[in-house]
Symmetry: C2
Subunit: 227 residues, 2 copies
């Protein structure tokens, strides 16, 4: 049960719908990436893994859709404002092979998930629980780490290429996030709060970015890559 007094506020609701719209689009985008990984997987077992992870994204998508319906919002409408940003991100980050696809999901989704969790600290308890549920790892991280590490072990040159790739992914993600933030006032106001609603001041936002970058560095290290 949500008991926060500001939940009924119009701007808050708009921001929450934006957050859920991004999450829904993110799940659909991750589905596409994982399905493509499955298609290009080197073995049948990798194909099954990719396909299973892709299907899980649709289960997440459906949960977010149902929560949006509770907020009287249609998932397609909620996703629409983020179409361009996601399209641009995808167009600028096309993996050249299966390994780059794996890193795409791990690094890109990891970074996005961290950011969503940061924002979720300032939404109502129901929405927050949903965000955490949808973003929980289901064994994919360990899988990607194992696959990338063994590819590097087999060919050291892979490490340099994938390290560059990881940096490019984060750069693109930040650039699209900025675009979205500039466009969607209700969403940014989730983070900054209002006089009635908790939020981050500038110093807190800067600390948040530090956390995001630190987590990214840790993820790259887990892959055996220089951030």
């Amino acid at each position: 049960m949500s008991v926060e007094p500001w939940v009924a506020d119009g701007e808050y609701r708009e921001g929450a719908v934006d957050l859920l719209g991004i999450l829904a689009y993110g799940a659909l985008a991750a589905f596409e990436r994982l399905a493509e990984d499955a298609r290009t997987a080197p073995t049948l077992s990798d194909k099954v893994h990719g396909a299973t992870m892709a299907a899980l994204q649709i289960a997440h998508f459906e949960r977010v859709r149902d929560r949006l319906a509770e907020l009287d919002s249609d998932v397609l409408d909620a996703m629409q404002p983020f179409h361009e940003a996601f399209n641009a991100y995808h167009a600028h980050t096309k993996p050249k092979d299966w390994l780059e696809g794996l890193v795409w999901t791990y690094v890109g989704d990891g970074f996005a998930a961290d950011f969503y969790r940061e924002v979720a600290a300032f939404v109502d308890a129901d929405t927050r629980a949903l965000v955490h549920q949808v973003l929980s790892d289901q064994g994919h991280e360990a899988y990607v780490i194992e696959r990338v590490r063994s590819a590097i072990a087999a060919d050291r040159k892979v490490a340099g290429r994938l390290a560059l790739w990881g940096r490019r992914l984060v750069g693109e993600a930040l650039s699209q996030a900025q675009r979205v933030a500039a466009d969607r006032d209700a969403l940014t106001s989730l983070l900054t709060g209002t006089s009635d609603r908790p939020g981050m001041d500038l110093a807190a936002i800067s600390r948040m970015f530090t956390r995001l970058v630190e987590n990214h560095t840790r993820r790259m290290q887990e892959l055996g890559l220089q951030a």
Copy 2:
């Protein structure tokens, strides 16, 4: 509960594992096709439909995998013998656009599903129930019919191209089915039966092919296409 006396028979079990292996591979192949349809979908709503249907195939895949585990068989091992036939089918039937992709799923999967149901008449009750469950339509047929019909209404030329495409799909499916039948004696013996186990004689097999072709013709007509 299965009570058929021949369930413990080694050749029967091998045939049933083959059937489930094909079903698992078929679900994975349909997943890939539907995910690709989602990727190339003209609208966000079509994308969501395709992705949802793709995820459903993985739910089917997981059911078949669990049934195979009950039969002490690993799904990857059960799928392996059909890798070449599915690969060849996919390589020879690459849709040129989204509409051809829709017809691929509807016509190809429809034909395959009819055939699996025919074979399922001769397997144990547990496996038969699973086959019917996995093959039940979940609203995708009505969706494809609506989309293809409205594409034809918008441009009559589409009908001729898709009619040719549908014929090619069935031709390829039959050719791969023949290849599999020639390779997998246990599977064909599911259909033909043994002295202890019911099956089809040659006349019944020929009637089955007539049914398969009639159903295909009906499906093409529902799309508004000449079979």
